[in-house]
């Protein structure tokens, strides 16, 4: 029996022995070859056609920004930048698909090489490559965008790659100064490129680069400066290479910072609304944080504290994003950090066993949370495992599609035809628009792509991202000037609602007023309304009255004094300490609400002071601007006992000429 067992395990021992002794994997070309193979194998959802919907539409927006040569900054603002199209998985045009393919393969390959380099500090070359292969695969699968055809979240994968590369010198006992300088500078440059792909990931990579420099020697000011200089230079060069005017860069940086800084408060999902999934994520995150603290306190030459500090930093940034808007995708991004950190952390055999057990439990716990999440939030019939299995086939399909002349164009035309059949925009609207410029309201941007319209959007082209007065005003002022037409996809609800139960007219008050006051309705058909630019036709705002209000109060909205008058209200919130702490800024436990005729809507607190429409005239009946509220109140959901929370309502009236 023992002899047969020994015979059976002999080949395994041979393999183990070969893996630990072979020199294959030391040469650069061997590592690059392994990286390319890994990238192709773990490239799920790489060959898909453009779809309709909110998420595919911002991808369409990123693609069309390049097609229509729009100027980022004055003409376009988003959480993404002029290179955002690089993370698009769907085909929008040949050159973009080609560049995106190169970017996406490079991202996965760079992650693989970073993990392999970190593992190489303690393991044999072949062991490192195998470890990197498995870790990259798990990480890529965890980063598949949940529930849609968005493919992998590549910008977040770049953050992980930067983390792995930054870990390499931190794991060395005495890293060469030149190597550290080079690593920091390259990471700084990568941060600059990434800033133009997705703004917040660029900042995160810059923080990782600076943290590496500081953790190795905080007095190395020259290196810190070089890192920042590489970041700034790379940002500028990539900006110019992306075809953007140098003068627009400061504008874009300023507006993008506004988009990012207003994101948490406006997009946070209160944890009680997420149900058991929130408990799972909180427990997983706390256990992981506890494990990191234990590792930091123990310290020692084997697991340097400076490395643990970097892991903690990346964990904190990822966890903040996770809890800013708790979703499966954001939670899995944190799990991916855990996976990579555990893979590259050097342990003694006994400690590794205990640690891997803890982390294995976290990952298992996390993966099972997908079921809990889908029960509460729903989702698509989408299987991560199936996507992983299909990945190699899709990769080959994408490469073949790019290699065969005309194949990309063919798929683009097929996708456009499919989208036109779904959108079914009336022919007369399309004829009326002709070659005129058009903005798509509020977020089905794909329609402009499908119908080859001259897309001229407001700068924050999907209005749900205009979550600050600055951005809303930017949109409002732009809309008052251009384009010639606004094609509006009608909401299924009346009054119109936006994402997360927002009230359409309150989400972007300035923008909504501009649409009401600078455009007239040319037609409503097939769930579309066509607005035509008509110049300003509203009177000034006339202040009516001011009313103090507390939670649960019901205030009657003043009736218009005569036909053709619109009524608006501005809400001066007086947030309590609880509100400031728990409305998305620190821990999202509650959201502010506005209650119209007994129905609660999510209130975008930052835009609340700007008067929004609560009663519109007949000129916009049937459109997303239509609203006839009789009573109004403010509140929070869930209520944390902020009954003393007050606010002040300011009512206005405005003449609207037909």
């Amino acid at each position: 029996m023992a002899a047969s067992t020994a015979a059976a395990t002999r080949p395994l021992r041979h393999v183990t022995s070969w893996v630990s002794t072979t020199t294959w994997g030391t040469a650069a070309w061997q590592q690059v070859l392994a990286a390319v193979i890994t990238a192709v194998l773990f490239w799920p959802q790489s060959s898909v056609d453009a779809m309709v919907g909110l998420d595919p539409s911002w991808q369409a927006g990123l693609a069309m920004a390049r097609i229509h040569h729009l100027a980022w900054g004055p003409e376009l603002v988003s959480t993404y930048g002029p290179l955002g199209f690089l993370q698009n998985t769907a085909y929008y045009s040949f050159d973009q698909s080609l560049l995106a393919t190169i970017y996406q393969l490079t991202v996965v390959a760079t992650l693989f090489l970073g993990i392999a380099a970190a593992l190489r500090q303690r393991h044999a070359p072949m062991t490192s490559l195998i470890g990197a292969f498995i870790t990259t695969g798990v990480t890529a699968i965890l980063h598949i965008g949940h529930g849609s055809t968005l493919g992998i979240m590549y910008p977040e994968l770049v953050v992980l790659a930067a983390f792995a590369w930054a870990a390499v010198p931190l794991l060395q006992n005495d890293p060469e100064r030149a190597t550290v300088f080079r690593t920091c500078s390259v990471l700084g440059a990568a941060a600059g490129l990434q800033l133009l792909v997705k703004f917040n990931t660029g900042l995160t990579i810059l923080v990782i680069a600076l943290a590496l420099s500081v953790l190795l020697d905080w007095r190395a000011v020259g290196r810190h400066c070089a890192t920042v200089t590489a970041f700034a230079a790379s940002t500028f060069v990539c900006w110019v290479l992306a075809g953007q005017g140098p003068g627009n860069l400061p504008t874009w940086l300023s507006y993008s910072a506004s988009v990012v800084s207003s994101y948490s408060a406006a997009m946070a999902i209160p944890l009680p609304a997420v149900g058991p999934f929130a408990i799972q994520t909180v427990v997983s995150t706390v256990v992981w944080a506890g494990a990191l603290c234990a590792m930091f306190i123990r310290g020692g030459p084997e697991t340097p504290r400076r490395f643990v500090a970097l892991v903690g930093l990346v964990t904190l940034i990822t966890a903040k994003k996770e809890f800013a808007r708790l979703s499966l995708g954001n939670f899995f991004a944190l799990l991916a950090v855990v996976v990579v950190a555990v893979a590259i952390t050097p342990f003694s055999r006994t400690r590794r066993r205990a640690f891997v057990l803890v982390v294995g439990a976290i990952v298992l716990f996390g993966v099972t949370s997908e079921h809990t999440y889908l029960e509460v939030h729903g989702g698509h019939d989408y299987d991560r495992t199936v996507a992983a299995v299909q990945a190699p086939g899709q990769a080959i399909d994408r490469l073949v599609t790019l290699a065969l002349p005309g194949r990309v164009d063919q798929r683009v035309e097929q996708a456009k035809a499919r989208q036109r059949a779904l959108y079914a925009i009336p022919d007369r609207f399309i004829k009326t628009i002709g070659s005129g410029t058009v903005h798509i309201d509020p977020d089905e941007i794909s329609a402009a792509w499908a119908y080859d319209l001259a897309w001229r959007p407001v700068p924050v082209f999907q209005t749900y991202q205009a979550n600050s007065p600055t951005l809303d005003e930017l949109n409002g002022e732009s809309l008052a000037k251009w384009p010639q037409f606004v094609l509006s996809r009608l909401s299924p609800a009346s009054p119109a609602t936006g994402i997360d139960g927002r009230l359409g007219v309150q989400e972007s008050p300035h923008y909504s007023r501009a649409l009401l006051c600078s455009y007239t309705v040319s037609g409503i058909e097939h769930r579309w309304a066509l607005f035509t630019h008509a110049g300003p036709h509203c009177g000034p705002l006339t202040a009516l009255s001011q009313v103090p209000i507390h939670e649960h109060d019901v205030i009657r909205v003043p009736a218009p004094s005569r036909p053709g008058m619109a009524v608006l209200v501005g809400i001066d919130l007086q947030p309590s300490v609880l509100d400031r702490l728990f409305q998305g800024t620190v821990v999202p436990l509650t959201i502010p609400t506005v209650v119209l005729d007994g129905v609660s809507y999510r209130l975008i607190a930052a835009n609340a002071a700007e008067p929004f429409l609560v009663n519109t005239g007949a000129s916009v009946e049937g459109t997303n601007l239509q609203i006839h509220a009789h009573t109004i109140g403010v509140g929070s959901a869930p209520s944390l006992g902020q009954s003393d929370t007050g606010a002040r309502l300011r009512f206005y009236e405005m003449r609207v000429a037909p």
């Binding site: 919907g53 910072a257 779904l422 997360d500 769930r527 205030i555 409305q583 609400t593 309502l649």
Partner: protein
């Protein structure tokens, strides 16, 4: 007995700097905002606004957009054909009935490409699935999502 090594001051400085960098990356948001509306004309306050009650609960709501936990629930209360995953989300919806209410789950944009349909005046509970392409409703009043699972 193993002693925990004390943190060196240099290490503390590194950590402090790292924490500062983190704050820069995370950014922040303010809750209160100042109105930017230009008031070009002011009229004396009119007694048209009355505080009807100090703590009177609102009248029963026929629909829920945000529930007491803060969760958002989609509603459909306009007639039309809606694209699943673009206009509406899959899930279970109910309505209170309506004279000659007609609804149809569609497998394509054509209203005759029907998966399931009904014409009735009774209250309805329907499941709109991920695989449905569109949903058509006529004279059905408000459809309220009650579960994300169809």
């Amino acid at each position: 007995m193993r002693r925990h090594p004390a943190l060196h001051s240099a290490g503390m400085k590194r950590l402090a700097l790292t924490a500062a960098l983190l704050l820069v990356a995370c950014g922040g948001a303010t809750l209160a905002a100042v109105s930017t509306v230009p008031i070009t004309q002011t009229r004396a306050a009119q007694p048209t606004v009355t505080q009807t009650a100090g703590n009177t609960p609102p009248p029963p709501a026929p629909k829920t957009v945000i529930d007491p936990r803060g969760a958002a629930w989609p509603i459909i209360d306009r007639d039309g054909t809606y694209l699943v995953l673009a206009d509406i989300l899959p899930g279970t919806y109910r309505n209170a009935g309506g004279t000659m209410c007609y609804w149809a789950r569609l497998r394509g944009p054509d209203p005759s490409d029907i998966l399931d349909s009904k014409k009735t005046g009774d209250p309805q509970v329907i499941g709109i699935r991920n695989s449905d392409i569109a949903f058509l409703t006529q004279n059905c009043g408000t459809w309220q999502m009650t579960s994300v699972v169809p």
